[in-house]
Amino acid sequence: MNTKTAAALPVDLGGGPFTITTRDLTKRFGSTTALNALDLRVPEGAAYVLVGPNGAGKTTLLRTLIGMARRDHGAVEVLGIDPERRGADARGLVGYVPEGHRIGYPWMTVGRLLKHCEALYPSWDTDYAARLVDAYEVDLSRKCRSLSKGQSRRVQMLVALAHRPPLLLLDEPTDGLDHVIRDVTLSILSEHFADSPTTALISTHRVYEIERLVDHVGVLRQGRLLGQMPTDELRGKLRRYWADVPDGFEMSTELAGRVIRRTEGMRDIEWTVWGEEKLVVNGFGRAGATVREVAPLSLDEAATALLANKETS
């Protein structure tokens, strides 16, 4: 069965304005290509989730956006700045939570680390930092090296938010957090979005946790951006169809290229198809099948379906 869907998934997000723009961004490590001709667009004010399996290039992408990794090819603009030329300026405008859990200097206390950041971020909001310390129950007297994964993730979030940057780059922000603290984090992010005009690019492979917070999604696999779009568009156009099919049913060619996944039951088949619902249902009808039910997918299910489809490339 031919399931080429490359044409089906949109990458173009229109005219902007965009907070992050990459053109043909390529990064290689030796013979492996970590980022392959990436055209990422993060609209101003968007909460954009970057989904993809481990090793898809999410971390490398975020690092190139603040001048912590050099690109081999292509162009990058973050808030109008090329981070490779003006790294310090870019980092001043970005709240970054790195993938790893190392924070600051191992010998330093958390309290001193916050003072350090206060001294180096002119826009540091001391009151807000104090409120986050309370909300996250951060122990300021602890040494950085003695923090658990979850504790250092909280401090990293705090440092990223407290200078109220116009752009947040969060690499697995909920990694290492228990359920309660994860909930606290999501609430803090909701409030932060309400209080400060912020664009956010969040990388995660656990989409269900932040599904309700985001409004744009990009799917990254093996360094390629399979598609990026508003989550509403994904919800509207990627749907599951349950259809009764006659014996010897053949999918019409017009739909074949849009099928993301197909699960066969006894007599009915579940299809995950990309396209306008009406057109898809009509297409099924013309092929002799009766669509019994249509349902949208959660963002997590959609991401799983898109990433599992090996032909989507």
């Binding site: 101003e44 004010g45 603040i66 001048g67 912590m68 808030l79 109008g80 700045i81 490779e84 030329r85 003006r86 790294g87 310090a88 300026d89 980092r91 001043g92 405008l93 970054y96 790195p98 993938e99 790893g100 190392r102 924070i103 600051g104 200097y105 191992p106 010998w107 330093m108 001193r112 680390l113 350090h116 950041c117 001294a119 180096l120 971020y121 002119p122 826009s123 090296r145 200078h163 940057p165 116009p166 005009p197």
Partner: protein, 291 residues
């Protein structure tokens, strides 16, 4: 929505002051340990005074070269402790230019190092003076006037001269500490595996001497000799390699100087070493340049 033309980087002054503070914190424990040791030494003064009966000890600034060199070589490890300079160091995520900030941090560490060396030199001078000795010697030195006569071993070829330690000698421990500090800082900033490079470099140096068929051992020792001579110039201001042991006519054996290092010769030698170290540091920190 957001004024992106707004500069959200700290001023040079703010960044420098903060680095001075943070590096001070980083080296605090080590610096305090050194100061505690010096304080202990001064507390010992009354007991030493009882032991030293006639002649007090003489402290020459060049005697401090080895300790100062060690301090300089070791202190970058304290300044950069716990930082993965080739990984996700906090420094690289901050809104500061990577290369410039790395240099700023090296400079901050140097300020503290000079502080510790000052305290060390002052304490030792104080100690020596308190126990009845002299800081900087006044007296006589043996000078070689005829090297051939000295080498023949028949005696003679030397004369005594009046010697006063010049004031500029007191710069020596500071210069040596600085050199070691800058060199090791460059090593840490420039190489992912600085220790491998340090050991590897030394072994390569020895191997260089072992090349060639004949007189391998002699070659190693002569190469080492050149190297040690160079180190001597740096650390001891040439005081060791400019001296020979002479047997006087009376049968007494003394160390005599073939030549006395002048301010000019020392400036040239140490300037060369310092220049080399500084260029290395600049190159090493440029590794993370951003524009």
């Amino acid at each position: 929505m957001t004024d992106i033309t707004m500069d959200r980087t700290p001023s040079m002054k703010a960044a420098a002051v903060e680095q001075l503070r943070v590096v001070g914190l980083a080296v605090r424990r080590e610096a305090l340990a050194i100061c505690a040791g010096l304080a202990l030494l001064l507390l010992l003064v009354p007991f030493v005074e009882e032991i030293v009966v006639e002649v007090g000890p003489i402290l020459n600034p060049t005697d401090l070269g080895v300790i100062a060199a060690f301090l300089g070589l070791a202190s970058p490890l304290a300044v950069w402790k716990g930082e993965t300079l080739f990984g996700e160091s906090r420094l690289w995520t901050l809104p500061v230019d990577h290369a410039r900030h790395a240099r700023m941090k090296v400079a901050a560490g140097w300020v503290w190092l000079m502080g510790v060396v000052s305290v060390g030199v002052l304490s030792l001078v104080l100690f020596v003076v308190l126990v009845g000795g002299d800081a900087g010697s006044e007296g006589t030195r043996w000078m070689v006037t005829d090297l051939d006569a000295v080498r023949s071993g028949a005696g003679g070829g030397v004369r005594q001269m009046v010697w006063t330690t010049p004031l500029w000698h007191w710069a020596h421990p500071f210069v040596v500490a600085t050199w070691g500090y800058v060199a090791v800082s460059a090593l840490l900033l420039g190489f992912k595996r600085p220790y491998h490079w340090a050991v590897g470099g030394w072994l390569a140096f020895l191997a260089f001497g072992l090349l060639g068929e004949e007189g391998n051992i002699a070659r190693v020792t002569s190469t080492l000799d050149v190297f040690m001579g160079a180190i001597d110039w740096l650390v001891f201001a040439g005081s060791d390699y400019s001296q020979v042991t002479v047997t006087l006519e009376s049968g007494q054996r003394v160390r005599a100087w073939t030549r006395i290092p002048t301010l000019g010769s020392v400036v040239v030698a140490q300037g060369l070493w310092m220049g080399l170290a500084c260029v290395s540091l600049w190159a090493a920190s440029a590794r993370s340049r951003e524009s």
